[in-house]
Amino acid sequence: MKRCNRMMVSTLSVAMGLALSAGAAAAQDCTTKIGAVLPTSVDWGRPIAETAQFVVDQVNEAGGVAGCNVEMVLRDSQVDPKVGVDAAKALVDLDGVQVLLGAVSSGVSMPILTSVTVPGNVLQMSCCSSSTAFTKLAEEGKTKGLFFRTFATTGVQAAVGAKVAKDQGYKSVAILYKNDDWGQDLQNLIAKDFEALGITVTSATAINDGQPSYRAEVTSALSGNPDALYLGLYPNEGTAAVREWLSLGGTQNMIMANSLKSDEFRDNVGLQYLGKAFGTDTASPRVASADSFVAAYEAKFGGAPNGPGLANSYDATMIALLAMEAAGKDATGDQIAAQVARVTDPAGTPVTADAAGFAAARDVLAGGGNVMYQGATGNVRFDVNGDVSAPAVVWKFAEESVEEVEYMSLTDVDDFIASLK
């Protein structure tokens, strides 16, 4: 009898052991999907998608989210709203994603928000949609707390740009801006800021996508004889416009929005002409761990994470995955959205922007604590409308990448903006 019992006990324990290990193995074998609708067929869109996938790879390296592997299902928005919305709907209905990264242009993000993610209770995290319409929508309560963007509001960018002009002593500035919602916003805001500082805006010229030549626009900007040129452009048309500007004898005093922080732009224009070109951007945290993000990025892609939207895309993806981890397995979109505040809590434990940081965050969250994610764009903190404000930095181009010229903390930025009113 005793032998029978002992055999039963050992069989039982072996069976339990097998069951447990099978359960653990099963946890590693599960896959959670997240969706991404990004413009991969446009030159600046592809690196944004690459960066998002990079984050997913890092998180999987650290063991996945809530014990499951993360799979990012990527769809091209083709910068066409109906294609983007359809892709988003397919991701939500057919793939069952609870988190959607996207889109880049506000014209695509907005209809996705109103017709897919809000009705479907899915978290939508945009790296780069800049339209103020989203803030208004959130104020009206129509986003149900489901929409976030890691793109610092254009108002900060404009104010810092104006400050650079004042600090450099420019009395007159010509503006060249991209003729989309971001550029139009930027131009509206910075023109007001320049005025408030007593700087004359000699001209504000819209640059349309895909024109054979920007000669006419550059000539008309030149005609006002400005002290400096403000550029709210992307690398593609920025390169064309600046090369034209320089070859026609335009001044090398330039102020650039963060969209021009790109190696491609620097190489195609030439470092020798960019000595007096200052750019604005949101600041990365002033901690050594921020360098590990840049190092990891360079190791993977062979170049610094400069380029429109890359750092924002990284943060959007990472925050979404952190929130998913906090919400636990099988969480729905609104539950995940509610956890975003937990992972971006200024009083929480700081974690870095890499695989190790994710693992550390997992432990903190499991213990019931909060996390402060120190992202590639800074200590990301969302306000009640899902917008971010961040400290600012003034930079200029250097041999290898960019170097920082000045840092403005969040208080400095807020004070300066207040002084402009």
Binding site: D43, G210, Q211, S213
Partner: protein, 304 residues
């Protein structure tokens, strides 16, 4: 004002070259070929490849010619690129247009050309990547022609204009003075009658495509020289080139030249009158204005 006019002509030179090729194809083959502008893309990228090749083979060629940013390697590459583009144009015709011509009507060819344009543009994007490329990263500074009123020109653009004028003149002479030119025009006017006279229709069609492709390649290289090289060159230039062709009148080489200048100038002058946000509409408003006065373009003739 003078600067704008001058800019218009300089920018328009590239459009004129593109339009010259398109006008020949449209006149001869009687359909609006929306993939013609993609040939400019093919020309620009092939020249890029050959340029890198030649620079690697012989550093002597990498020296710039005079004041221009064009190198000897690029000049040589232009010739090769014209050949490649001409051959590509013939291949596209054989594979697609000829078959659609036999089965369908004009609209089918227009649509087939749209589909072809999508394929070429995205294939180039896949092969070469979507980033902006340049033949030479050096910025060549403009020369000041006169101080007051301020008139600036870039040497590259002057060279482009000069070569364009020379090529157009050459083309016109060929078409109006040589037997070969007569044969080409005959086939465009009345293919059956021309064949009765012993002209080989198929060979003439091949020639038109080669010429059109060669002109497009040249235009593409000049565009890349004066601006930058991206896979969407075709998408960006297709409508200004169409505008130039139509304004000039389909079938007229001099019309194409003038049309290019008109479109280039219109875009430049428009900035003086309208906010630059409206610049893309300018070529069309010009077309509508010209067509209301002369329904067949400036030099075009009533189509039989």
């Amino acid at each position: 004002m003078i600067q704008h006019l001058l800019d218009g002509i300089l920018v328009g030179a590239v459009l004129s070259l593109g339009a010259a090729g398109l006008t020949m194809v449209m006149h001869m083959l009687r359909f609006a070929n929306f993939s013609h502008a993609e040939l400019l893309s093919i020309g620009a990228y092939s020249a890029l490849v050959f340029d890198a090749l030649f620079k690697g083979i012989s550093p002597v060629l990498a020296a710039q010619i005079g004041l221009l940013s064009m190198t000897g390697a690029l000049a040589l590459s232009m010739v090769f690129s014209m050949v490649i583009t001409g051959i590509s144009a013939v291949i596209f015709d054989k594979l697609i247009f000829r078959r659609v011509r036999e089965k369908g009507e004009e609209l089918s060819m227009v649509f087939a050309s749209f589909g072809l344009a999508l394929i070429i543009r995205n294939a180039i994007g896949l092969i070469f990547g979507l980033q902006t490329k340049l033949y030479s990263q050096d910025i060549v500074f403009a020369t000041v022609l006169s101080r007051d009123p301020l008139v600036l020109v870039k040497p590259d653009q002057l060279a482009t204009l000069g070569i364009t004028l020379a090529i157009i003149l050459l083309l016109h002479l060929i078409l109006s003075r040589t037997i070969f030119g007569y044969a080409l025009r005959a086939v465009a006017e009345n293919p059956s009658l021309a064949q009765v006279n012993g002209i080989n229709l198929q060979r003439m069609i091949v020639v038109v495509w080669v010429l059109g492709g060669g002109l497009a390649a040249l235009a593409g290289v000049f565009y890349g020289l004066n601006n930058q090289i991206t896979p969407v060159i075709g998408r960006d230039l297709v409508l200004p080139i169409f505008a130039a062709t139509i304004v000039g009148g389909i079938g007229s080489i001099y019309g194409a030249l003038l049309g290019g200048f008109v479109v280039g100038t219109a875009a430049n002058l428009a900035v003086m009158v309208l906010p630059s946000g409206y610049s893309p509409s300018m070529p069309f408003l010009i077309i509508i204005a010209v067509l209301l006065i002369r329904p067949n373009g400036l030099f075009g003739e009533e189509r039989t």
